[in-house]
Structure formats: C-alpha cells, structure tokens
Symmetry: C2
Subunit: 353 residues, 2 copies
C-alpha cells in the first residue's frame, strides 16, 4: 500500500505533531457548489447520487478540486442503515429525510434485524473503494454513519421533528422498546463502519445530530452508551494504519468529558463551546474537531480570517486540532468564501505548530 | 399592601428557606387547557388574548384554578416590544410569530426608538394591574420580556428561522448595525420590565430563547452584555418587597457562570444540564429554575413521579430551586399529567427542605 501524500488530518486526530492545522468541512460536497448541483441533476436526486458509486465518487472529489482540503468524506447519507433495514428512505422537497415505513408497531421493532453491509449496503462499499482509487492517496477518506439514537429518532418519527415527541414518549413510557431499536442500530452501525474501514475508509465519524435534544441523564442512557459500544467494536487498525474514530454530538458541549471517556480518538464540537475550555476538560485524551459557526461564511474574506484566527487561538498551540465548521456548510455559502477559509486556516495555523 | 398568602416562589428565588420546592410551568396558560382554547376562540386570536386585559386575566388564572401552582405568569408574548416599535407582530398558522415590517434597511435601524411602555404597551400594564387584583395575593405574578438578542432575531429575520442566517450575517458583517438594534432593545426592555414592576409584577423573567444559537464569543458580545445592562437597570425593589430577576438562555448551560455574574437572582435551565453540576458551578450566587424535559409529560403519572424525583435529587437539599419545565409545556400534554407533576413536586420535595 502506498503512503498518503498528505496525512496531516490523520496525524492531528491521533494528536501527533503536524506543520499546520488540517481542515475539512462537514457537507463539503454539497449544494453550495454549482458542479455538485449539475451532477445531482444528472443523477436525478440526492439518493441517486448516494446509490451510484460513479456519481458518489464524482461529487466526493469536487470540493478537493477547488480547495486544498486535508480530507475527503464519503458522499452518502447518515440514514443509509435504516434504509437497508427496509424502512424506505426518501427525501421530500424542503422537508429533509423521511421514511416510508417508520416504526409504528411493537412487532416491527421486534422484527428489526442488522442489515448485512456487503449486500444491502454494497453500494456504499463500492463507493468507498472507488473513491479511494480516485483519491490516489492524496488525502485520507472519512467514512461515517448516523448514531443509534439519531437513527432511532428518524425511524420512530418518520422524519425530522421539532420536539421528538414520539421517540421521547417511547423513551419515557416504553424504554425497553427504544433500547431494542438502539441495540440493533448499534450492532448495525458497528458492522457498517467496519465494512467501510475494510473497503478503505481511513477514519470514521459518527454523527449524533440529535443527541443534544436529550436530557443529561437520557443522553447517557440512550445515546452515549451505544456510542461507547460502537467505539469498542470498531476495527481501529487496517492495513497497518490506525483508523481514528470521531464522535460528534451536536449540542453536546456540556457532556464532552463523558464523550471523551468512550475511547474515541476525537470529538466534534459545534460553535457554542470554546475550544480552549473543551481542551482543558478533556486533557490529552482526545483530539478536537471544529468549530467555526458556518454562518461566518456568509460574511467576507476579512471577517472569515479574523474568526478563523479566533478559533485557532482558542485551541492554542500544539497538535490535536482538526479545523471544521460546527455544522454542515450552508447551501447559500459563496464558494469563494469557503476558499478563503481553507487558505486562512492553512496560513494562520502554522504559528501554533 | 397585603402580604402574599404563598410566597414560596419568591423566597426560593432569593435562596431563602422554604417548606417545599415551588413550581410553575412555562406556558402554563396555553393550548393544552380546553378552557384556554375556549377563551381564545372568543378572543378571535392569540394577539386578541394578549391585547385585551380581561381575556389576558382570564387565561392567566386558568391554570391556577386547576393546579396549586406557586406563581402566575402574565399572559403575553415575548415580542410585544418590537410590536410597539411599529414592526407589526402577527401570527401565521403553524409558523409562529412574524413581523409585517422586519428591519430591512439601515435607515429603519437608525430610526428605531424606545417605545413608551405607558402608551404603546399600556394594554400590558393594564393586564398586570388587573391580574394582580384578580390574584388577590394568593401567589406572586411574574412579568416578562424577550431578550434584546432574541427580539433582534425576529426583527431582522421577520420570523423564526432554522439558521438565523440574516441576523448572523449582520452580526459578522455589520456588527455596528446589530449593536444599534440591541442597544435600543435593551433600553426598551428595561423600561418595559420596570413598568411591569410598577404595575405589580413581583418577579421578572427574560427569555433569551435564541441565545443558544450563538457561538460562545458572540453570545457574550451580542446577548449577555445586553442582559447585564438590563439587570443593572431594573428596579429590584417595589412596595418594600424585593423583585427577583430570572434569566433564561435556552441552550445556555455551557455559559451559566457568566450568566450568574450578570447580577441576576436566578437562572432558568433547559433539561440538557444536570442541576447538581449547575449548582456547583454557580455556587451560592443565584437560584436555579428548571429543568424537566416537557416531553416527560407525555408519559404517565408514575414515570412523571420518577423523573420529578430525579430532578429534585439532582438539585439536592436546601433552598434556591424553583421547579419548572426546561421549555414551554406542549399543547399535546394531557392536563391530568400536569396535575400529577405539580402534586409530585410538592410532595416529593419536602424531604429536601
């Protein structure tokens, strides 16, 4: 196997010395790029992009052709696993992801099974293999999945929600049913991410997008406990290289000490938490990824530079920081502002290393 | 002036000894009560309720007729102040509050003026006076307003938003314009709350519903700094009685030490933060109000009792805790579950006092 030409991202996740702070952007292959919208039109839909390895490879590489990013991330969706369980993922205009057959009856929950990643999720593994080939060892490829709790939110609600009333009613009234769903999800996500690692993903990230809607106690019981099980079950080495694991609970800043205790390599943070405060709390246990407010990219290169410097300064000197946005990049972002961000991070971070 | 028959709520806010933990519920006069819906129908609309002191008095008292709550809260909206500035508050079905004339031009921002509470907001003061009379000193009356930042969100966006792109673009690109809005808002909220206090409000609460969407640094500069100015400008005593001030930043758990430093008497907390952790961080500086997840009320009296006990235990022994939900009660709550909560708090909390 050939050596990576740029392994800055992986080194930072493992808290090894680097020359500068690496950067990638959540949702970097997305609607803010005109070339993405063109490919999506050819594919017919978002799921058409995800499920066709040629299209998935094409859009994964698009942001890297524009910006000197330090990592690529598999183009896919956080909800592929419940789709493979048979719930029927679809996207309705302006309303985000939905399931045709959400979990409505106890027998449906009892009948849930762990999908085999090599059959029902073959298209993902094919995309990973093909993207790795196309990347030609320039930068590492990140694989990912939604967290068991976040998957359960969509599986029970059937889509996104303001208050997650249905899944929380289950949590408080029928916790054993929710634990059954979470148990299957945790097994499925573990198998799915391990298959991605075997197919070539060089780091993996778990998106706990809705962990932040839980109470502190419910988060531990219904989200974190399952994240911990997944971390313990992942292949942490492949082809002689370490495969770092990043956990990202949106709105989880209050809980980072317990997230760090799961055994993950890095924690993703949204913009509500000061990186310096976070670093003090987690010590040397994990790296930190984040955390610029993506709306900063609506301003201009000068402001972007100032705000980038603030994020870098808040983390301070030394390794262990991967620069990112605190949430996915908005479709309304001017691409030249994303370029300004990548340039600012690379240039301004050198003095901290 | 006659003594309050039940001053438990005020004593708890001032961290004085009480026999039990007092409780009220955010949005306790609301759509989960059939009698509220009947009055609202007679009034024609939500704003029709707010702007007519007879209706406002009637719905304010409805939850107290059902449950032995320890406080009443003025029936009104957090956005009355910008409405009085001329922005034209209205409610569109299922989309929440909106403004007919959001701030779109610089001259509109320069022309903003502080509304006189005794003319444009006279209907609020009349409601306060009338509610106080109707309450007959049974329990104290809480007055309230939205925070300068939360008002600015609606004034600039024209309604609620997923990402607050417009107001955050202003924050990062034209901060001086946003500071101008916030400065007027802070003056207006101070005058408005002082007028409520003079009209008879015995405690006041500021709802910073959208503070949690800001970065840690932006929160301090664009929300907290203005909350601090308001706290410093409020009448803290009226008719020989202390008037406690409660600050509630939804999603502000990470920042409670700086919120406590504003000089407020109490901090409202949503359900993401453990009250015991919060209490350690703020020490004896402030009381804490919260923080049951309102979705617990979708379960049943037995679960409600267990979850109530957990919240009480997390705060622990001694005064300084006002029980509340971490967010407004949902319209889908069975009223008998709200009754079970009030009963559980009163009964289970005695051992902690």
């Amino acid at each position: 196997m050939t050596k990576l030409k740029n392994d800055t991202f992986l080194r930072a996740l493992l808290r090894q010395p680097t020359d500068y702070t690496p950067i990638w952007m959540m949702r970097q292959a997305g609607r803010y790029l005109p070339e993405y919208n063109q490919t999506r039109e050819r594919a017919g839909s978002f799921l058409g992009l995800c499920k066709n390895p040629d299209f998935a490879t094409e859009v994964t590489l698009q942001p890297l052709a524009r910006f000197p990013l330090d990592a690529a991330i598999l183009f896919s969706d956080i909800l592929t696993v419940p789709d493979a369980m048979g719930l029927g993922l679809y996207f309705s205009q302006g309303e985000g992801p939905k399931f045709e057959r959400p979990l409505r009856d106890e027998w449906e929950i009892r009948d849930l099974t762990v999908p085999d990643p090599d059959t029902h999720l073959r298209y993902v593994m094919d995309a990973v293999t093909q993207i790795r080939r196309a990347l030609n060892n320039e930068v590492p490829l990140i694989g990912f999945s939604g967290s068991p709790w976040t998957l359960a939110c969509y599986m029970v609600e059937g889509g996104s929600s303001d208050d997650y009333a249905m899944v929380k009613t289950m949590l408080y009234s029928r916790p054993e049913l929710l634990h059954r769903i979470l148990d299957v999800n945790a097994q499925a996500v573990t198998a799915y991410l391990n298959a991605q690692i075997e197919a070539g993903a060089q780091a993996v990230m778990i998106f706990d997008s809705w962990g932040g809607v839980l109470s502190h106690a419910a988060y531990r019981e219904f989200s974190l406990a399952y994240l911990e099980r997944i971390v313990a079950g992942l292949k942490r080495e492949h082809d002689g290289e370490k495969v770092p694991v990043i956990l990202f609970t949106k709105g989880g800043g209050l809980w980072i000490e317990s997230i760090a205790a799961t055994g993950c390599d890095a924690i993703g943070l949204d913009w509500t938490m000061d990186l310096g405060v976070a670093r003090k709390l987690v010590g040397n246990r994990v790296a930190l990824q984040g955390n610029l407010d993506p709306t900063v990219l609506f301003s201009n290169p000068e402001v972007i530079r100032q705000e980038t410097e603030k994020v870098l300064a808040s983390y301070g000197s030394g390794s262990g920081h991967v620069f990112n946005l605190g949430h996915g990049i908005s479709q309304h972002t001017p691409p030249e502002n994303a370029a300004a961000l990548v340039e600012a991070v690379h240039e301004l971070s050198r003095k901290y290393h």
